[in-house]
Symmetry: C2
Subunit: 424 residues, 2 copies
Amino acid sequence: MTETINDLPQVMLEGAKAARAASRTMGTLSAEKRVEALEAIARHLEAAKDDILSENKKDLDAAEDNGLDAPMVDRLRLDDERLGGIIQGVRDVAALDDPVGDVLAEWERPNGLKMSRIRVPLGVIGVIYESRPNVTVDASVLCLKSGNAVMLRPGSDSFHTSRRLVECVRAGLKEAGLPEGAVFMVPTTDRAAVGHLLSGLEGNLDVIVPRGGRSLVERVSQEARVPVIGHLEGICHVYVDKGADLEKAKAIVVNAKLRRTGVCGAAETILIDKARADELVPEIAGALIDAGCEVRGDETAQARHDGIVPATEEDWSTEYLAPIVSMRVVDGVRGAIDHISHYATGHTESILTEDEDTAEAFLREVDSAIIIHNASTQFADGGEFGMGAEIGISTGRIHARGPVGCEQLTTFKYVVRGDGQTRP
Amino acid sequence: MTETINDLPQVMLEGAKAARAASRTMGTLSAEKRVEALEAIARHLEAAKDDILSENKKDLDAAEDNGLDAPMVDRLRLDDERLGGIIQGVRDVAALDDPVGDVLAEWERPNGLKMSRIRVPLGVIGVIYESRPNVTVDASVLCLKSGNAVMLRPGSDSFHTSRRLVECVRAGLKEAGLPEGAVFMVPTTDRAAVGHLLSGLEGNLDVIVPRGGRSLVERVSQEARVPVIGHLEGICHVYVDKGADLEKAKAIVVNAKLRRTGVCGAAETILIDKARADELVPEIAGALIDAGCEVRGDETAQARHDGIVPATEEDWSTEYLAPIVSMRVVDGVRGAIDHISHYATGHTESILTEDEDTAEAFLREVDSAIIIHNASTQFADGGEFGMGAEIGISTGRIHARGPVGCEQLTTFKYVVRGDGQTRP
């Protein structure tokens, strides 16, 4: 479905300017006012439930006509329960600590200047995402809670649903006496809109959060004239050390790979310590295969278990997002760190061992956003971190690493209080 | 001067790979080891003083032949005293608190997972800068202190001096048993090298810090495939409120504009409260003019003092970096905030008033990196903030705002400690 808008550049620019103006208001509100707006949004979503579901039906019908595959249709589908979950999510975000205005540091200089570093919103955030209606609401309320304005570009398959959801969000803002321009949704499925977002809209957009497939994120990273917070791929590793507890290790590896295979925190490569490979390879590979997973191993692994099929060099760099895993035998924790430093994408890696010294070396030396000892990589999630909700996971090195929640959607400014100081 | 290198792309890529490898070592050293390296660097600089000055002489002679203007030659010139200052700067940075490994936050989840956020180095930092030899050393030691590796591209007029300085830095690293590859200087003045840095060198460069003229910074912002930390312009404002103390205000305005006119924290526009314009305009403009400054005012200002020449719309967006200032009469603090939100570049703004409520409104609502009450904008400097040294000032909104010191050259990772948890 494409609705063409003749003056799209103008519409986008006006939306961005309104978002910029609204962001100035949102960022200087009291925390109570932001909560009031989120509660009004939850009420408007509740009141419009039937309407939202009927718009969702339009999208689902079109998806069927377009031959969308089953997992994508499932992501798109809303029902009473899922919509209830989305609305509860709004209230959960409302209940989070307000991050804006926090004093992050305070100190005084010898000349009497009183310095402080204060948390402030990022400004206007662009979110480009897949056809998942829940993201429309999650991203809106996370941005609003942290005092930002947001420009949304949902996947085209969810256009009707998202448009109706955004109407509820804007109605809630209006009811709270706040500028509706704080949440703008691109009013067309025309892909040209993405280009306008990437161009930065004359300085009215501060950061872009891309979510979705590698091709989208690569395009955004290549073309964006504004900073990007996001991740390309999550090639997550689990290293099973000779000091591992076997039963824990089997349970964690199976969970890390198979709990959900389509999430970015799913494990893609299992590294096995050579010193205990004779036992660990058959046990771990066997548990994975029994659970329905294809295991692609290097020669050393293949030699230790019949069900393992051969891995190629490409496997070490592949994010399967499917019940397939690669397995390699490495020379202890040093070998694991070397493999990870070569192939990891900076997302999440886990070590399984009862040896504290080995674990600490891994935690210290591996440089990904999240490093885990004796637990599943699938904990790589804002909710599991206690952040309440997330807009995505960042594998970039600057500003935000790991789950991007309210706090990561803020920046800071310095406030300096003097009594007449001039600089010598 | 251009030294052409035939295989420049290869040389750059090898330098970047060596820097990446070195960064892994630098980031996991003890704080003591980093201090040891910086002290060795200071000793090597001391031992090579005569040699450095004779390389500097080569650059100065070439600068004369090339007709460089006096301020640029002055920036380029080293003498015994300046070199002593640079070496003292190395020891000052060595004495700073080590930022790496700080535990920024710790908490436990209901499932028993122990979460922590740990400060880690950014990785490999590219610095592109003007022909100022001190930056070669400052940038190197700030990056090393914070556990990073650095790739330097100094202005071509300082090529010989910078090359000799970098030899000392690398000799210090070697003496401390650390990889020399942690500091790489582009071995040619060929401008093509800048393009290679901007392309990101196959993921071996994590961030670029551009310093210098607007054209360089704009090129970097447009072309860089890696994140950029820096600033385009510092159009800094001083707003003189009706509640200002006149004597303080005159002293601060003159200092903010004229202490040094070539720094990014110098004031470029003075805003005067309409409610007291009859007194403030002649007093403030008079003080500036007496001190040798040209004042370009709007009509309201011109009508109140003879020496003010007319300003055009362009003046409000001009960074003079010279003894010229624009002056506009605005309608109180709201008028000042409106002007600033339109014309400021996000660097530093100051309000002069004895009225606390007015000051607090300004400090809260103005959204630049540094907001000051009753003091000069020329305090916008890492040293004045107590950071010890800075690699530049950032006007971007993400990662680092304001002075970029050691701490701003770091990022963080999450370390999660479990005892067998799988995600339900």
